[in-house]
């Protein structure tokens, strides 16, 4: 059985009851903080260094030959918790060089207003075709903006203007 240690609680001395030494020591602390290095990050000009594995916006990627890797199996659409992904599958022209893949998305929409950046689409994708990038700043002026941004994500580029 653990031993109970009873701490003796001394009554406060007069100096302690007057609060004044505590006020002085508190002032010392706060004043010393005034001259320390500031922790503020001047955001738009200075960007934070993102950790490895950061979950930013989901993006469709291409293979070394420039083919979009997505085969529109729709697993990501099914797994997506907020139902942000909507895929319209399409056939690949049988005459085309990449005909063996059979399917490619005709439409691949990510509603960035719904996306919760959970990364399940990246995890579930059997073709490693969708990745969460280190882009985190997505803003727009209207609901349509947010949906448009999702379309741009398909191109694999940064959807929201200034490069990071």
């Amino acid at each position: 059985m653990a031993e109970t240690k009873v701490l003796e609680r001394k009554p406060l001395s007069l100096a302690e009851r007057s609060n004044l030494p505590q006020i002085v020591s508190g002032l010392k602390t706060t004043v010393s903080h005034m001259f320390r290095k500031k922790v503020t990050l001047q955001y738009p000009e200075v960007r934070p260094t993102l950790p490895e594995g950061y979950r930013g916006v989901p993006t469709l990627v291409h293979d070394p030959h420039g083919r979009e890797k997505c085969v529109s199996c729709q697993l990501c659409e099914f797994v997506c918790p907020p139902k942000a992904i909507r895929i319209t599958p399409g056939e690949i022209d049988p005459e085309a060089e990449t005909a063996h893949v059979e399917k490619a998305p005709k439409e691949f929409e990510i509603d960035m207003l719904r996306c919760i950046y959970c990364g399940l689409c990246e995890e579930v994708c059997p073709e490693e075709a969708i990745f969460l990038q280190d882009v985190y700043s997505m803003t727009g002026y209207s609901r349509e903006d947010g949906q448009q941004q999702g379309k741009a994500l398909r191109a694999g580029g940064n959807p929201s203007g200034p490069p990071l």
Partner: protein, 365 residues
């Protein structure tokens, strides 16, 4: 009264008002900047205007210091919707901001802020709007009126948060007014000790501190007065009227736009006036340093220097107010009451008695 001196007086009063309001406004900036530094932040450093930014070195510096933040905040208050809730008591609701705002500014009439030494006669004249013999009494009497604004706001708002804020504020004001008033009696006892006749005006207090500040000779008075001023101006740690953690906004919960702005400026104006009073009573006013003769030359250059030195001290006091605010947590209401009645009031009375006895012994010696 002749017309020209009257107009001059009005002009001086207008200038003084503008200066004090500017100081009050910029003490908001001091508050924001100092609190930011204490938190390891930078504080307002982006607000700027098209005609300030392009100035080569000074423009970016002023922007970084947040100089334009004050007009920006002021304009923001003006352009917000002035909403009067339907359930308020309208006359009280509208009168309260004015009643809170006016007394803290009326006090500046008797506050001296510098000296003018005539180059011809060597006579020293204090610079003050209304050279009143009862200066300090006037300050105590008028300054404490602003609590009526807070109480009226609390009552007229017809909301429980405002009501509690008003009640707390009135109780706190009654408790601390006593020790505040008693704490400065010793200063005037010493000034008017037998053989000297300095009166009760604030400029004579400064003259009496020519060689030694009252902070050194009456430290307990200075301490009690400082605590009292903190309580009177509703500054933390005695922020009972507002106490935003438990009362939303306290007495000004229901106020918006310009009326809130009046409360806001009145509060900071009271802080500036309180700082000025402390400087006058205990930090030697515009006297240079203890034991050192004033280096202010005769003529207007000396006046400007003395006014600037006085302002430096006042700004230092305002900064101290801010430092204390961001260092100490707020007292609980019962602790405030207990501190006021069982500690500060007996201390103030004892201080008065001891000093009175000391004056008597000094006289007998």
């Amino acid at each position: 009264m002749e017309l020209v001196p009257l107009l001059l007086k009005i002009l001086y009063a207008a200038i003084m008002l503008v200066v004090v309001l500017t100081i009050a406004g910029y003490s908001v900036l001091i508050e924001r900047k100092v609190s930011a530094y204490q938190h390891g932040r930078i504080g307002p450093n982006r607000t700027t205007t098209p005609f300030i930014r392009p100035i080569p070195v000074i423009g970016p510096l002023l922007t970084r210091l947040g100089i334009i933040q004050l007009p920006a905040d002021g304009l923001k208050f003006l352009f917000k919707e002035d909403f009067t809730p339907p359930y308020v008591n309208r006359p009280f609701f509208w009168a309260a901001p004015l009643i809170a705002f006016v007394p803290s500014l009326a006090v500046i009439a008797v506050i001296p802020f510098g000296q003018y030494t005539s180059p011809l006669t060597g006579e020293m004249i204090p610079l003050v709007l209304a050279p009143m013999d009862l200066g300090v009494i006037f300050v105590l009497a008028i300054g404490s009126l602003s609590v009526y604004g807070v109480v009226l706001a609390g009552w007229g708002s017809n909301s429980k948060y405002s009501f509690l804020g008003g009640i707390r504020s009135s109780a706190q004001m009654i408790s601390y007014e006593l020790s505040l008033g008693l704490s400065i009696f010793p200063v005037f006892l010493w000034m008017n000790a037998p053989g000297s006749d300095a009166g009760l005006s604030l400029s004579s207090v400064v003259e009496a501190q020519n060689t030694m500040w009252f902070l050194v000779t009456c430290p307990l008075s200075a301490f009690l007065f400082l605590v009292g001023i903190f309580a009177e101006t509703n500054r933390l740690p005695f922020d009972m009227a507002e106490s935003e953690t438990d009362l939303v906004g306290g007495f000004h919960t229901e106020y918006s736009s310009f009326k809130f702005g009046l409360f806001f400026v009145g509060e900071y104006g009271a802080m500036a006036v309180g700082s000025a009073l402390f400087v006058l009573l205990f930090l030697g006013g515009w006297n240079f340093l203890p034991f050192l003769a004033n280096p202010w030359p005769a003529g207007w250059i000396g006046s400007v220097l003395s006014v600037l030195w006085f302002l430096v001290k006042v700004v230092g006091m305002i900064t101290f107010f801010v430092l204390i605010r961001w260092t100490l947590p707020r007292y609980r209401f019962d602790q405030v009451m207990k501190l006021g009645w069982t500690v500060l009031l007996p201390l103030a009375i004892a201080n008065l008695i001891v000093n009175a006895a000391a004056v008597a012994i000094h006289d007998l010696w």
